[in-house]
Amino acid sequence: MKKKLLAVLCATGLLTAALTGCGNSEAQTTSTTETAEQTETTVAETQETEDTQATEETAAEDTANLSGTISLAGSTSMEKLCEAMSESFMEKYPGITVTVEYTGSGAGLESLASGSVDIGNASRHLKDEELSGGAVENVVAIDGIAVIEDKENTVTDISAEDLAKIYTGEISNWSELGGKDEAIVVIGREAGSGTRDAFEELLEVADNCAYAQELDSTGAVLAKVASTPGAIGYVSLDVVDDSVIAISIDGTEPTEEKILEGNYLLSRPFVMATNGEISAQNDLVKTWFDFIKSEDGKSVISQVGLIIPE
């Protein structure tokens, strides 16, 4: 009897150890290592030609021969874009491995300056000292955020200052902005959301927001705002529909044209900075940017809810 119990316990212990071991390594597996496995064989095959592959014709036609690694580092907000872009890029060019680290815009540009990565990601325009250090700003996509309210609301234009005051809790009734006597229900996203980061950063209210509701998806924000009288919320520009009003900020409507003109406050560029012009980069990086500008790349950009520049 005792022996049996011991056996059961031993078996359980072993199994437990085995499972948790698996769990650990699973958690650490990133998408890059997955794809690395996928392309391992092709990389090995073409390794010898790597030194000589920098001929123009290969880049032009025979893309399957390209092999190597493109490394990116920078903005965490660009994770969705980078993941989607590298995924479809590596599907088209199985010989190339794209690795992306999400270290933050500043850190990414520092890595670029030190030469440890090919591309530095930044979710803002480059600063003067960064530009003078040789970095070139390549805007690959534009992120736009719309401020939305329910259909019944009469306030359809708001100043950036008042908007900030709403989100910090200084203004709590629409009548203070010339609207109906209706309490403002401040709706936002959960900590860690890219939209929330961008919104708070652009409005300069980071870490000061007093949310009445923190929802964990764009759809939830849209639905709640549409169904709650007096609600205000923010979502990616591309998901705005007829169920809500998208408010103008400082007289500028949130439309793609206005954002491209650069007049709308709540928008920011997604920059993939390079050391020197794109034309001066190696073939791999050139191919990467060509892909972003191609139809495939454009469809990726609009798929993740961003605006295509130019």
């Binding site: 437990t16 709706i187 959960e190 923190e214 639905a223």
Partner: protein
């Protein structure tokens, strides 16, 4: 003869493997939660984590206080049990003592159906029906009180109401079976002594079924504590003191809503939140085991 012995033996082994699987699952989950959740307590500091009131994981100087989150879970659970248990118990009494066969089966069917409704449906109805009602109530209570932050009806009270309904089936079914298990001679004796039916129910039958009812209550607590989906949809999700008209976040919704984009220490802290929840659930189950043992002893 030999074949029979082999079959016997194989069957025994299969049963044993199945039994071990359950132990294995529990052990590995426990081990995993402690491995993932415990180190963060050291990194952030136990008092900062458990008794801090500011949850700002992505701020420049992050702070990871989950006191309000823990309190929301505790308050929400107990308030919903306070509402749900009396209703559930009286329903159980009705089912086992009073209802005629026909009506009883209708009610029983309804209760079973209530148990089968997925929590996301509770959440959806709470969001679409309960929240607007709550907002009306909120407006009429706070009116033009500018210091109150209006939540649009997504608040603690909504969560409590949804939870109270969700724990009903558990409380009802466990209580009903324990009431039914009370021997009929106790009832007969009580009635023979001249007690009315109601006196018999409240002074003889319910006390006799006490431990079974307690089991139902504890199971209800477990259900309420562990519910995530419905609460996520109706409670608002901002971290606040658990007052009736505040938007709140519980241990479960904390994990659900932030796991998606959390990185680094923020992510690790969410595992610690999971560990806290897990410990709460273990305590509840421990109480349950005790209650059951006591029940067995009494009968």
């Amino acid at each position: 003869m030999k074949r029979k012995a082999i079959i016997e033996k194989t069957a025994k082994i299969i049963f044993m493997i199945c039994a071990v699987l359950a132990i294995f699952a529990v052990c590995s989950i426990t081990l995993y939660m402690f491995m993932k959740g415990a180190p963060t307590f050291q990194k952030v500091g136990v008092p900062e984590l458990l008794f801090g009131t500011k949850w700002a994981p992505t701020a420049k100087t992050p702070s990871y206080g989950i006191l309000y989150i823990i309190l929301s879970s505790v308050v929400g659970t107990f308030a919903s049990v306070l509402i749900g248990v009396p209703i559930g118990l009286l329903t159980a009494v009705f089912l086992s003592e009073i209802a005629k066969k026909h009506l009883g089966s209708v009610v029983r069917g309804a209760v079973e159906l209530l148990a089968a409704i997925p929590s996301v449906i509770y959440g959806l109805i709470g969001m679409m029906v309960l929240n607007p009602w709550m907002y009306q109530l909120e407006k009429s209570i706070f009116g033009s009180d500018f210091s109150h932050q209006f939540t649009g009806g997504a608040n603690m009270l909504s969560a409590i109401i949804v939870l109270a309904i969700m724990i009903l089936p558990t409380v009802i079914s466990v209580s009903t079976s324990s009431l039914k298990a009370v021997p009929g001679n106790l009832r007969s004796a009580s009635l023979a002594l001249g007690a009315t039916k109601m006196q018999t129910i409240f002074q003889v039958v319910i006390p006799a079924a006490k431990s079974g009812i307690l089991t139902g209550v504890v199971l209800g607590i477990g259900r309420a504590l562990g519910e995530a989906m419905a609460i996520n949809m109706v409670a608002g999700g901002a971290v606040n003191i658990p007052l009736p008209f505040n938007s709140v976040r519980t241990l479960t919704t904390q994990i659900v809503s932030e796991m998606g984009y959390a990185q680094g220490l923020h992510r690790q802290v969410l595992f610690s939140v999971g560990l806290v929840l897990y410990i709460f659930i273990m305590i509840v189950n421990f109480i349950l085991l005790k209650a059951r043992k006591k029940g067995v002893g009494e009968l």
